[in-house]
């Protein structure tokens, strides 16, 4: 598994480096950073929900660890996506935050996963924590994430891709950008999974160490 993860990381490292070479001061370039963040976040949360389902089917500490670590990495991507989006909005819209429907949706997602972590903290029994948080994870993912894609489309938004603003398709017509954009998405998603795997492995090592300590005493 470590070998597979290492190949992941090297691939991600090379791929994620690609867009950095192309930085010029144009706001379209936010596409390379901002958009992959959201793709990565959704991918990570999706993986987290899958592990939550697995955890309900066959309860195990590993599944719970995977689920929570993936959610952690997803939160990191959400934060980065929000920051990159705010920087972009500052230059294009003039303010960092102005309650655009997309921003509201992002804030709601953020709240959902913050609630998930609060839930994890407030249950003492680890078995019960795994089960309850898995249920909430699935519930929140299935109930919220689709809505974040649907509801903003119903409202007027200044975000690119809606309300007559040029979106992906216009940018994608330029095939050179597509060459950079798709690897960037893949690279960031893989990096995200690598982040999660780092956390998982450190946790496993910590547990192993405490077991050894326990045995020695």
């Amino acid at each position: 598994m470590a070998v597979a993860l290492l190949t992941y990381t090297t691939m991600a490292g090379f791929l994620a480096d690609v867009p950095r070479l192309h930085i010029v001061n144009e706001t379209i370039r936010a596409l390379y950073f901002h958009v992959p963040m959201w793709f990565g976040m959704v991918a990570l949360f999706f993986a987290s929900a899958i592990y939550a389902v697995k955890n309900l089917r066959t309860p195990s500490i590993t599944n719970d660890l995977y689920s929570s670590s993936l959610a952690h990495a997803g939160m990191l991507y959400g934060t980065l996506g929000m920051i990159t989006g705010m920087v972009w909005a500052h230059y294009t819209w003039g303010t960092f935050w102005h309650w655009d429907p997309k921003q509201t949706g992002a804030a709601i997602t953020y709240l959902v996963y913050l609630a998930y972590f609060v839930l994890r903290i407030s249950v003492d029994n680890s078995e019960q924590r795994a089960r309850l948080s898995a249920v909430y994870n699935i519930f929140a993912f299935a109930a919220m994430i689709p809505l974040i894609f649907i509801i903003p489309r119903l409202m007027d938004s200044m975000h690119p891709g809606s309300g007559g603003n040029p979106g992906f398709n216009v940018y994608d017509l330029d095939s050179r950008m597509r060459l950079v954009f798709y690897p960037a998405v893949a690279g960031w998603i893989l990096t995200g999974f690598w982040f999660a795997s780092l956390r998982i492995r450190t946790r496993q090592v910590e547990e192993h160490l405490s077991e050894i300590e326990y045995e020695n005493n």
Binding site: E127, F139, A142, I151
Partner: protein, 217 residues
């Protein structure tokens, strides 16, 4: 039809105890009364009216449903665990909470008409919205309350876990309310009502599927 028995049992218990139902009605009444005292001087803008109504309905719904799992004694759960299957139990709870929630919101709307004014122009659509929103509140809050009941600080957690999930229902309801206040007719609110219906069925299905895992502990 085991779930019907549960609905009937809840209802008879509710009538027998009286304290909860009358407490909730009084809670609703005092909110509206305070609003009346606050706004008796001037005219309420329609938008402010809708905000007040939905906040009242939301808080009443949270209080109504929070008691369905949090306030029950442990012994009752152990009895039900042996007596009925988890699926029947959750259907019964969902149905009963939906009933109670709809009742509460309709009564709340009645109080609003009585004490404040009634700026709604399309009563049919508005009542349908109230019905759908109450169902949405009931379905999503029931599962959340069963999760929260298992934790240490259940009342705080109830609010934290439910708000992100509720927001989407609330957003749609507020949009339709605005259309009703402007008297725009069915065509304007069709999409939103359909989405509300979709959210409700999604959330109800998820609760049905996920509840057995919580029930086990």
């Amino acid at each position: 039809m085991t779930w019907l028995y549960i609905v009937r049992k809840e209802w008879t218990l509710e009538l027998r105890k009286k304290s909860i139902l009358s407490g909730l009605l009084l809670y609703l009444f005092s909110i509206v009364f305070i609003l009346y005292l606050t706004f008796s001087q001037g005219v309420i803008q329609p938008l402010v009216w809708s905000a007040l109504l939905w906040i009242t309905v939301l808080f009443t719904a949270i209080n109504t449903i929070a008691k369905s799992f949090i306030a029950e004694r442990r012994g009752i759960f152990i009895y039900f665990y042996y007596a009925v299957s988890a699926r029947d139990f959750i259907i019964g709870k969902l149905a009963y909470n939906a009933l109670l929630c709809t009742l509460m919101s309709t009564v709340g709307y009645g109080f609003f008409i009585l004490f404040l004014e009634d700026p709604v122009q399309d009563h049919g659509i508005f009542l349908l919205t109230i019905l759908l929103a109450s169902l949405g509140f009931a379905f999503s809050l029931t599962l959340i309350s069963s999760i929260a009941a298992k934790t240490n600080n259940s009342h705080v957690l109830m609010a934290v876990l439910s708000f992100p999930i509720i927001i989407s229902v609330l957003l749609m309801a507020i949009k339709v309310t605005k259309n009703c206040l402007d008297g725009l007719g069915w065509e304007a609110s069709n999409d939103e009502l359909l989405i509300l219906l979709a959210i409700n069925s999604l959330v109800a299905a998820l609760s049905y599927l996920l509840f057995p895992y919580i029930w086990r502990s």
